[in-house]
Symmetry: C2
Subunit: 128 residues, 2 copies
DNA sequence: CCTCTCATGAGAATGATTCTCATTCTGATC
DNA sequence: GATCAGAATGAGAATCATTCTCATGAGAGG
């Protein structure tokens, strides 16, 4: 999807490759600046969007309204996210996918898409 | 949950009672003004939030980032929404609920919540 | 009526994201 | 290596939903 390889895109890509949970644009922008590999905020946003459009990263919008991105494995899946530390687990549920499709079809809906996210407190963040 | 019954709260409530799909705060504010039963935008937001907190209305955040509200039936359910006309169907899926809980438990997550929405084009909006 | 609060609303403030546009850079070509 | 068209960048302004501020208004009980 991207046409030109620039330092900026490589830099954003690098940050995504290093972490294992969802990160926001501003957060990535900060990391880069702190690292001395500064990239304009607009560019961070643009790059992230391009990556999302091309399916290279997954997008998640948190309760705080901030959009976060994560380089995931290929293939359709959903996420189990810790509300405290952000730890993310990819999960698949073929039966659930089938259910969503069938319930949509049953009601005459076409071109169906869906969002499904599970949020909780992970074992590491759960006292006791 | 609300403490005082005011004209404004009644007005917002009335709009929600009249429609059958998700509506945004600004939209409700406009309807009220047009109707001559004007309510301050801040108050619309506040009322909607209170209704959401008390569980009287369901909340849905669209792809455009706007939060929409709908007076739904009691009990836990999810929604099948038309991306064109907004027509909304409530759906239940006990098996899906169980799956989400079990996958969370399997990964050691506690206090789990989830979001699940299905979006598509309804029969009425689908040509052919 | 009185008063004690909670509620209201106009407008300012917030905060994430997008847009503008002059400048810089990439990649292909010569 | 030198050129060039078009893509990419980024500083700052603009957007837009939502929240906040705080002076004023209005429930509810006495
Ligand atoms: Zn993913
Ligand atoms: Zn955790
Ligand atoms: Zn799915
Ligand atoms: Zn429709």
């Amino acid at each position: 999807m991207n046409q030109r390889a620039t330092r900026q895109r490589r830099a954003v890509d690098a940050v995504l490759a290093e972490v294992d949970d969802f990160r926001g644009a501003q957060e990535i922008h900060d990391v880069l600046r702190r690292r001395g590999d500064s990239v304009g905020l607009s560019t961070v946003y643009r790059t992230l969007q391009a990556l999302a459009d091309s399916g290279e990263v997954d997008v998640l919008r948190g309760a705080d309204g901030e959009t976060r991105y994560r380089r995931c494995s290929q293939g359709h899946h959903h996420h189990l996210v810790c509300r405290d530390c952000g730890r993310t687990v990819e999960v698949e549920g073929p039966a659930v996918e089938r259910w969503m499709d069938s319930v949509a079809a049953r009601h005459g809906f076409h071109d169906v898409a869906h969002t499904l996210e599970v949020i909780g407190t992970c074992a590491g963040c759960h006292p006791g």
